[in-house]
Amino acid sequence: MELNQVCYETLRFDKPWTLENYRRIGGYQVWERILREQPDPVSIVEEIKKSGLRGRGGAGFPTGVKWSFMPKGDPSPYKHLVCNSDESEPGTCKDRDILRFNPHALVEGMAIACYAMRSELGYNYLRGEFMDEPYGRFSQALKEAYNEGLLGKNIRKSGINVDLHAVLGAGAYICGEETGLLESLEGKKGMPRFKPPFPAQYGVWGRPTTVNNTETLASVPTILRRGSGWFMKIGKDEKNGGTKIFSVSGHVSKPGNYEVPLGVPFAELFELAGGMRLGKKLKAVIPGGSSVPVLPAERIMTATMDYDGIQKAGSMLGSGAVIVMDEDTCMVRVLERLSRFYYAESCGQCTPCREGTGWMYRAVSRIENGRGHMEDLDKLVDISHHIEGHTICALGDAASMPVWSFIKHFRDEFEYHVRERRCLVGPGAVHRELAA
């Protein structure tokens, strides 16, 4: 299996982020050809559709189709491309490495996307925590691209205008949700908007906008350089085409980002990450960032890592953050931590999520701390089902899925906690009884 063929291609060089190294892999060839030949933007959108590229941020919506939602007509500075580099899904760190090690791929991808959607103005919204290295690298790349005459007004006398800007967020999970991001980009408190209208009609400042994930956009130059067929074939099938970066974390020997073809068996990815740490046994995996249902070892070991494969196993590919847990992990404790995250990050606008996340966290926390009741378990599942699907954005779903899936797959551990007031496994198991 070949690693790092698309977004991480420059990783084979020392100082992979330089313009020079990006040029060595054929960087900016596509963009320069577009500037020269000015193909029909529709042909680019079609090419992307054919490649099978789907949104890499989590939702997995076909990118080409999304692009085709933008209103046609003349190129305009009042249509926008927004790149979502808010990467805040717990466990995910793939976009950070694209920004650090291959920022030019994103710059070129954004420029191409702008052209394809007849937009003349794009923003890259980076999470506040990226202030130091990723933001610096990306800004540097932008500067170089401007200096090279690859961006700006009337680029190389082609009549094409593309301006790109980098914007830093201030550290809220919800700003990774596309409309929350748009609010934040406008300088407001990050609160997702009700849809419809979708951003393609009413986006940032009320103008047509497309929001794409960093990995999605950074894949675009390679796809167009090597052809949509090439890209698609790397993956499993036309619905699961191309490569995907998995951020493998947790109790593995070699945690890290792995760019692999979609459809690799989990076992292979697991192998790449060095298998379990300290010879422990695999207990469970959250395959797509903390917001997706957890899968017990036996289910994940037979799954393939692609949209359909993971769905068949009972979870979602999400952002590609693979969180691996070993046999000593107390699932109640993990759920307590996850619930606290959603409780703290709920934006607060819609009732079920604002009120429900706090309720769930407190109940799980009580169980973890030895003050739970048996009826709490069913109540928790019921609460989570009444948040899921009832909210404006997907944070409600994200907060719910861990709750019901943990209780579903590891109910015995929760019951043990309630009954014995201590953990079934791990260090908590040998400790004295928890608070009465």
């Binding site: 409780y343 607060g348 606008q349 819609c350 079920p352």
Partner: protein, 792 residues
């Protein structure tokens, strides 16, 4: 079927509705109730409460009815198991952190959460954690907060933004820590702030003056109309055992939608002021003594009759139509033609050119549909808050709002072009604008235009271009223009501007029934029905002349008349019958007979608003003490004067019918703003070294009732009006500092001692002073610092 319509079913009912509507709108129209908290038909949709979740066939998850657009063939179920399950869940979430302190909550009984909890809540809570507590906000004297009760529907935020025009509160913090508030603690200063009380579905925002006064279900609701401005916002007066305890809006989509101003909402608190007139008083041996009504009426008629043709009658412009009609009937029968309601007007040169009645020149909806609006001489949002809201609505629809004012005011409007000129030069500036516009549209000017001086150049290009291009321009003259000493010219110029831009022209009249005064014959040059009659004296003349007798009605001349000191001098000299609701100390000195009149809310009657709409209202409370409804007093005075037959009305309706027969039935059309008269132009006063004082009528100073409404007097707005505002340049030259005590001396012995405030909003050569400070509304003055007594 109309192309723009779609067919759908809701709970099995086949319905048809315009495209673009949402499920809840269609359901409301069809009388199908869907529970909601955040949705409000006059506010932007946010879909955050999730109470309105319904089942839509073919969609896996429940959808919010308030924000889901209808589509062809859609099948909606609002009461299915799926839908009610979602609604119940939302209710449970809303209640877990709600304090459920209904027994001590003022909202109890009229709480949307309480109502819906009855239908959708569980009997017993499953929530065993600790409830959230949120600290309260201090947002001023009008609104009481209990933020723990807040359910975060954000209606209050949206009301202040959409209706009030400024985002004075917002939500800070995330998730459960979200908090509705001002962020940095300060009062909410919108003149429409009280509307947050109505929209708040729970008891988080309640009326402070109404706090712990009564339960909603104990109150009787009465239809009433605002007595404070010319729009006549529709109100309900809520009373308990004959006492008016609360005022809330009554929906009228051609006037105030569902909103009212704070002035209309809280002015009732002045009804119980300690200086309320409670018993009839007459002067005997120099002393005012209490007498029976019969004795007082006899005494009053004696004064009126004695003055005869030389009687001067001055009524508040907020007097009811029926009272105005009876008052003029009485005094005309006694031989006098001197009756007026235009108490803050000084310039009556154009009375001959008056339309049938002064008006906005169109409906209020036409204002909110105008595509260019020019406001001249007005602090619009404080003068007529709801008209300010209507203009804001126009602006939101894309209208260009422009202002030409003698002082910079924050109108809380998106102003495209603003021109500030000195009040002395206002007329010349408007004339220059007329000239520029005529040039732009290539039309000739009437002769009188040559009388305006040309020595000052004004840059009006953007305003001129916009007016010329507008399809539906609207020129509005405000109170500052009406009170201006060149009002006649301003009015003629304003009308000309409208003509040149093929638009409309309107005047914001004072009081709530100025249009009615014309129709009732309560102005010197009009008889009943608004027909021209041999003119009597204007309010101004009556005070300048020193008549032998005066009949004043619901006014306090030192506050309410253009030249307070002159009015006072005239009243001191003549015999005075005062029919009032409140007794000022000054009144005790000059009045010879005081008849206590029922105040706002205590009497029935009707008003004609500035758009020519006739509106009736009922008494909501029992008149205080021995005071009587005005029409009954006038009826008795008529009988006492020997006009028994002519004043033998059994009911108010008979008076109304008699007047309407001379008006010629309803509905009344908007006034016609064409001018025909010819009068000498009074050009502006040159900007020179002379200082001129102008009175600013504060939003809560305009009439006797609001001046006594304690909560309103504690607002920032009321406090703001109490100073002498002067430009920093003038102050420097006069050696005046901010917050310094100054003496402003006018002609004769007129003078006022006030605290000076420096403001760049004031033009050079002018100082703005509060009502009732002892100076006329405009006059040349001297200003000097009052030395602070040397410390010992």
């Amino acid at each position: 079927m109309n192309d723009n319509h779609v067919k759908l079913t809701i709970d099995g009912h086949l319905l048809e509705a315009p495209k673009g509507e949402t499920i809840i709108q269609v359901a409301d129209e069809a009388g199908i109730y869907i529970p909601r908290f955040c949705y409000h038909k006059h506010l932007p949709i946010v879909a955050n409460c999730r109470m309105c979740l319904v089942e839509v066939e073919g969609v896996g998850k429940p959808l919010p009815a308030c924000s889901t657009p209808i589509t062809e063939g859609m099948s909606v179920r609002t009461r299915s198991e799926h839908a009610t399950d979602a609604q119940r869940a939302t209710m449970e979430f809303l209640l877990i952190n709600h304090p459920l302190d209904c027994p001590v909550c003022d909202q109890g009984g009229e709480c949307e959460l309480q109502d819906l909890a009855l239908g959708f809540g569980r009997g017993v809570s499953r929530f065993t954690e600790t409830k959230r507590v949120v600290p309260d906000e201090q947002i001023g004297p009008l609104v009481q907060t209990s933020m723990t009760r807040c359910i975060y529907c954000t209606r209050c935020i949206r009301v202040l933004e959409e209706v009030g025009g400024r985002r004075e509160i917002g939500a800070t913090g995330r998730g459960e820590h979200m908090k509705i508030g001002t962020y940095i603690e300060h009062s909410i200063n919108s003149e429409l702030s009280g509307n947050i009380i109505d929209v708040c579905p729970v008891g988080a925002l309640n009326s402070a003056p109404f706090k712990m006064q009564a339960r909603g279900w104990e109150l009787l609701s009465h239809v009433t109309v605002s007595p404070h401005d010319c729009l006549g916002s529709n109100l309900y007066g809520h009373s308990l055992r004959g006492k008016l305890l609360r005022v809330v809006p009554r929906e009228n989509n051609s006037i105030n939608d569902t909103w009212i101003s704070d002035r209309d909402r809280f002015s009732y608190t002045g009804l119980t002021a300690s200086d309320r007139a409670r018993v009839p008083l007459i002067r005997r041996n120099g002393e005012l003594i209490q007498v029976e009504w019969e004795a007082a009426l006899e005494y009053a008629v004696g004064i009126l009759k004695k003055a005869g043709a030389d009687l001067g009658t001055i009524l508040s412009p907020s007097t009811t139509l029926e009272e105005m009609y009876l008052a003029q009937k009485l005094i005309r029968r006694l031989g006098s033609n001197n009756i007026d309601t235009r108490i803050r007007q000084h310039d009556f040169r154009d009375d001959v050119g008056d339309p049938r009645f002064p008006s906005l020149g169109g409906s209020i909806r036409e204002v909110s549909n105008a595509d260019a609006i020019l406001i001249i001489g007005s602090r619009l949002n404080k003068e007529v808050p709801i008209l300010g809201y209507q203009v804001r609505k126009a602006a939101r629809k894309g209208s260009t709002v422009m202002v030409l004012n003698p002082r910079r005011y924050d109108l809380v409007l998106p102003i495209s072009h603003e021109k500030i000129v000195s009040p002395q030069q206002l007329v010349n500036a408007v004339a220059a604008l007329v000239r520029a516009l005529a040039r732009e549209v290539n039309r000739s000017l009437p002769d009188f235009m040559s009388q305006f001086s040309l020595d000052k150049e004004y840059e009006f290009t953007p305003i001129v271009k916009r007016l010329a291009a507008a399809d539906r321009a609207y020129i509005i003259l405000g109170h500052i223009a009406v009170q201006h000493s060149s009002f006649a010219d301003l009015r003629r110029l304003g009308a000309l501007l409208a003509k040149l831009s093929d638009g409309r022209f309107g005047v914001i009249t004072e009081g709530s029934n100025q249009a009615g005064a014309y129709l009732a014959g309560a102005v010197p040059h009009r008889g009943p029905g608004g027909v021209p009659v041999m003119p009597g004296m204007t309010a101004r003349n009556m005070f300048e002349k020193h008549l032998p007798g005066y009949f004043i009605w619901s006014i306090e001349p030192e506050f309410d008349c253009w030249d307070g000191p002159a009015a006072r001098a005239a009243l001191d000299a003549g015999s005075v019958v005062a029919a009032v609701s409140f007794i000022t100390p000054a009144m005790r000195e000059y009045a010879d007979c005081i008849l206590p009149v029922a105040a706002f809310g205590e009497t029935s009657g009707s008003y004609v608003n500035v758009a020519g709409e006739l509106q009736h209202f009922n008494a909501a409370a029992i008149p205080m003490g021995e005071s009587r409804p005005g029409w009954k007093i006038l009826r008795a005075l008529g009988a006492e004067a020997g006009l028994v037959n002519e004043f033998s009305y059994a009911r108010l309706g008979e008076i109304h019918a008699e007047l309407m027969s001379s008006i010629g039935g309803t509905p009344l059309a908007g006034g016609d703003m064409e001018y025909s008269g010819n009068w000498e132009v009074k050009p502006g006063i040159p900007d020179n070294k002379n200082l001129h004082a102008f009175i600013e009528v504060g939003p809560y100073a305009g009439d006797p009732l609001v001046r006594r409404a304690e909560p309103l007097q504690q607002t920032e707005d009321a406090k703001h009006s109490g100073y002498a505002w002067i430009s920093p340049t003038d102050a420097r030259e006069l050696n005046i500092f901010d917050n310094q005590l100054v003496r402003i001396s006018g002609s004769g012995s007129n003078r006022a001692d006030l605290v000076a405030k420096l403001s760049k909003d004031v033009t050079r050569g002018s100082v703005w002073i509060p009502l009732g400070c002892g100076l006329p509304m405009h006059g040349q003055v001297m200003l000097s610092a009052i030395p602070v007594a040397a410390e010992a």
